[in-house]
């Protein structure tokens, strides 16, 4: 059944690519698909069979490349389910947003359906090679989104995006092959590798393999100093492309930390954890400070992504630092990391969808060329303000729950993580300043005759923010799902 969820969008993508349906049919077809996907994921989770003890729900295993011991192995646990749910929700929001689009809707819908399969595949995969296949295909899909529907210097940004993330994915592949060769018998199966941790106690080999895996994941996340591809990619991507890139694709990197790097290479992870923690802290501060300096709204949001994903890196880094018997604190940090992935996905996707409205109407993201927008576009102002407050970590929103746990867990194990709290302060400042520039004061520049949000824009960003609010007010179900899996990761990394 999980395979149906993963491959249904691909089937629709093939259909849309091959059959020349009218534009409206393509748009509504994509929308219908994403609604079905949301329904399927929800139905599966609440109505599906329970997980066998310590196992994966909806597990499925088929031989694929017997030559290298790789299989089609999928399944969900508390780490992957929130991200699968996030994926279908973000894509559904994009499909709503695209109902108002006019630029080659059929091809765009096909491409996004294809992307949806790759994203779901990454989070469902329980085999390293399968993970890699989907991981790499998502890069190809996003390349075409940026190159085909972007603006500005789209071709160049797309190329830069492809080169950077492809280099990262190859480092990842090299690391995977190292893990595969270390296991006896050779296997790419994640569950199998987590059980045996083949490079445990292997000294420098384990460190090098983890180094390759970390490099690959760090480029994708992206963390300082591998984040330079992100701002141009976002600036030149279309709104829905940015939403998917920031909302879902960036999570593949941090998901890889908790799914692959920590459980499969525990002792190497513990040795590298100080580096990871340091990189996380630098990302948080660097992202926030550079975002503060931006006048381009989309670049600013892009840099806050570096900052927000930095919290996740801080959390997983802290979870590897074994200081006394802080088992519980490390578990809280991992739960916080997964919650932050979901939270950032919802909020940033909404922010990018909203930022797209500026470009649609005025052709620019320059905050200086707007002013007093609250008067001409009250709905836009309200929604953007909500998104901004959610993003800066206001209590009541998912971001607060996530960051609170990240810091509680991280500071308890590694007090130095407290430095990263400064990032929240800077983020608050930059969002408030952006709100002030865009929405307050006399109505000037492009704000004059600014058309307020249409239905498709309202109903794409709105539900994402509503979900962020729901998670912020009732975090229980999400945290209960993540907690056992997080405990498992902490157990595995403490071996």
């Amino acid at each position: 059944m999980l395979s149906v969820v993963v491959f249904l969008p691909l089937a629709v993508a093939c259909l849309l690519a091959l059959v020349r349906v009218p534009d409206a049919a393509a748009r509504w077809g994509w929308f219908a698909l994403s609604v079905v996907e949301v329904g399927l994921v929800a139905g599966l989770w609440f109505g599906g069979p329970p997980a066998p003890a310590g196992g994966l729900r909806f597990e499925q295993r088929v031989d694929w490349i017997p030559l290298v011991g790789s299989g089609y192995h999928v399944g969900l646990d508390g780490l992957s389910w929130p991200l699968v749910a996030l994926t279908v929700v973000v894509f559904a929001a994009c499909s709503v947003h695209a109902l108002g689009g006019r630029d080659r809707p059929r091809q765009q819908a096909a491409l996004f359906c294809f992307l949806q399969t790759t994203c779901l595949g990454v989070f469902a995969a329980q085999d390293l090679l399968l993970f890699f296949v989907f991981f790499d295909l998502s890069i190809v899909g996003m390349y075409f989104v940026i190159a085909g529907w972007g603006h500005g210097d789209a071709a160049r940004s797309a190329l830069q995006f492809f080169l950077y993330t492809f280099l990262g994915s190859l480092a990842l592949l090299v690391g995977f092959i190292g893990l595969y060769l270390a296991a006896t018998p050779h296997t790419f199966d994640i569950v199998e590798l987590a059980r045996s941790a083949p490079l445990q106690g292997s000294g420098s080999t384990g460190l090098l393999v983890l180094g390759a895996v970390l490099l690959g994941l760090a480029v994708k996340t992206p963390t300082f100093p591998f984040h330079t591809w992100l701002p141009p990619a976002h600036t030149d991507a279309p709104a829905v492309g940015s939403a998917v890139l920031a909302g879902v694709l960036l999570k593949m990197g941090t998901y890889g930390f908790v799914r692959i790097a920590m459980p499969l290479l525990p002792d190497a992870w513990r040795q590298w954890s100080w580096v990871v923690l340091a990189v996380g802290i630098v990302s948080v501060l660097h992202g926030a400070l550079v975002a503060l300096a931006q006048t381009d709204l989309k670049r600013m949001i892009a840099y806050t992504s570096v900052n927000h994903m930095g919290y996740v890196v801080v959390a997983v880094g802290a979870a590897g630092v074994v200081a006394g018997s802080a088992e519980q604190a490390r578990q809280i940090a991992v739960v916080g990391a997964v919650t932050q992935m979901v939270s950032h996905g919802l909020i940033t996707a909404a922010l990018f969808l909203l930022a797209g409205a500026l470009h649609d109407r005025a052709g620019t993201y320059d905050t200086g060329s707007f002013g007093g927008l609250a008067r001409t576009a009250p709905r836009y102002a309200a929604l953007f303000a909500v998104a901004a407050f959610a993003s800066l970590g206001l209590p009541g929103f998912s971001g607060f729950i996530a960051e609170f746990q990240v810091f509680t867990g991280a500071i308890a194990t590694a007090p130095v993580a407290a430095v990263a709290v400064l990032g929240i302060l800077v983020t608050a400042a930059l969002f408030l300043r952006a709100l002030q520039r865009l929405f307050t004061g006399p109505t000037t520049g492009h704000s004059v005759r600014f058309r307020d949000l249409g239905a498709s824009e309202l109903w794409s960003a709105g539900p994402l923010l509503a979900l962020a609010l729901v998670v912020g007010v009732f975090p229980g179900p999400l945290l209960d799902t993540v907690a056992p899996a997080a405990a498992n990761v902490v157990d595995l990394v403490s071996r």
């Binding site: 490349i65 017997p66 290298v68 190329l159 190859l170 190292g178």
Partner: protein, 474 residues
């Protein structure tokens, strides 16, 4: 070890190819120009017959025949199938170009002869058979490349011929030296025979033989004919010459490296030599491809870099259990991919610059899709054929102790992405040039077939290599 009582049908697939080549030539010479398709059909029938016989033979046991001079094992079996499939694809993509021309039947005949030489090259387990197979595989290439009678083709054929003649002489010299030192030409006894010989003399012999095989494979340092042939020859000849001979040459290299003494006084570190050649081939090929503007020349340099990856499992022959299956998997994937990319250029003969592919996705979406799949496969993006091969080859090389080569290959893969994207970007870019000439009709069929094949090999990931045990028959 073979018995003296030989099975005459052991070489049935090869016999089909030889008979097919002769029959094609004969039929062609009695037919008027507008009915030359009959001779082409003869060639196709012979190829299909050869493939059927090869598939049947795969089920048999691995053995050597004719006093251990020819190996009928899994490796030979896979090469027989791959070469036939590639040749069929080449004949298919050549239809629009060759149909009704004066040299149609001759071209088909030469293709079959070179295919035969390639298969024998892969199966040879004796130095003299190897030498004969080399001649049989390379001489038809000169005819094929020169057949289109343009000045570019003339230059290409002169270059190919000179390099081929040089390496041919070297190969014969090497065979003579090794035979003299080892007092045998059969691989099975070569290892022990060379054991006590002076290392320098063995080195001269082996390097000379390697030179010949590297020419056939289009590897550094005897690669310079490849881009010229890819650009100057007809699409048919270019697709064939840059794809098919490699299959035989690389398996022959594998057999040779595997047969050489691994330890003792006569042993040298051949593996390191091959590994260095692999690194040079992939790096040089990629760097040279970066600046190309002619899609065929770009593909030519790209094949030089692909030989680098293909040499990786050769460098760990006998050291890693999966080296041989990995080599065969990569060969199969590479062959269908490269032939597919050439098939697209053959279907669009007027487009000779990367820029002229602008807007192809609008005009011919299926062809653009096939090109995208083939180019992404050449880069090694999943789930395509070359990706499966790359994972297998990387694993084998690392397992055999060449982790540094894996890193070099990974970096090179990123390099190769740059120039393949230079081609992909205009295909899917906005705008477009005015349509030149007639649109591709039947010419697109082989390209689409190859595109589907690339995905099929990648997703089904080839039971083909699974048919082969890790060991060769000697």
């Amino acid at each position: 070890m073979s018995t003296t009582h030989e099975d005459p049908l052991a070489l049935l697939p090869e016999i089909f190819l030889l008979a097919g080549a002769l029959l094609t030539l004969l039929t062609g010479s009695f037919l008027p120009r507008d009915r030359q398709w009959v001779s082409r059909s003869v060639a196709v029938v012979a190829l299909v017959g050869s493939a059927t016989a090869a598939a049947v033979a795969l089920a048999g046991p691995a053995r050597t025949v004719y006093t251990s001079t020819y190996a009928v094992d899994g490796a030979t079996g896979v090469v027989r199938l791959v070469v036939v499939a590639a040749t069929l694809l080449v004949i298919g993509l050549g239809v629009p170009e060759l149909s009704g021309t004066a040299r149609e039947s001759e071209t088909c005949s030469l293709l079959l002869l070179s295919a035969l030489g390639t298969v024998v090259l892969a199966g040879a387990s004796d130095l003299l058979v190897l030498a004969v197979a080399f001649l049989l595989a390379s001489i038809p290439l000169y005819g094929l490349i020169g057949a289109s009678r343009s000045s570019a083709a003339a230059e290409a054929v002169v270059k190919t011929y000179l390099l081929g003649a040089l390496t041919n002489v070297l190969l014969l010299l090497g065979v003579a030296v090794l035979a003299a030192l080892g007092s045998t030409t059969v691989y099975a006894r070569l290892g022990t025979g060379l054991g006590g010989s002076p290392a320098a003399a063995v080195a001269v012999g082996v390097v000379a033989v390697l030179a010949g095989l590297l020419f056939e494979a289009g590897a550094v340092p005897v690669h310079s004919w490849v881009p010229d042939a890819a650009q100057g020859a007809s699409a048919t000849a270019a697709a064939f010459a840059t794809t098919v001979p490699k299959v035989g040459a690389l398996v022959a290299l594998y057999r040779l490296v595997d047969a050489l003494p691994g330890t003792g006084p006569g042993a040298l570190d051949w593996r390191l030599l091959v590994a260095v050649l692999a690194a040079l081939s992939m790096t040089l090929g990629n760097l040279a491809a970066l600046g190309q503007d002619d899609p065929r020349r770009l593909l030519g340099w790209s094949t030089v870099s692909q030989v680098g990856y293909l040499l990786m499992p050769v460098a760990v022959a006998g050291r890693a259990a999966e080296a041989l299956p990995a080599l065969l998997l990569y060969l199969a994937g590479y062959t269908v991919t490269n032939a597919g990319a050439f098939a697209v250029t053959a279907a669009l003969p007027q487009r000779r610059t990367l820029g002229s592919y602008r807007g192809l996705a609008r005009r011919h979406p299926a062809l653009a899709g096939a090109l995208l799949v083939c180019l992404l496969s050449l880069v090694g993006t999943p789930p395509t054929a070359v990706f499966a091969g790359k994972v297998a080859v990387f694993s084998a090389a690392w397992d055999g102790g060449l982790a540094w080569l894996v890193v070099v290959a990974a970096v090179n893969t990123v390099l190769s992405l740059v120039y393949h994207l230079r081609w992909i970007a205009p295909v899917f870019g906005a705008g477009g040039t005015a349509e030149e000439g007639a649109g591709p009709r039947w010419g697109a069929v082989p390209a689409l077939g190859a595109g589907v094949g690339v995905l099929a090999v990648g997703i089904a990931a080839v039971p083909l290599a699974g048919l082969v045990g890790p060991a060769l028959a000697r």
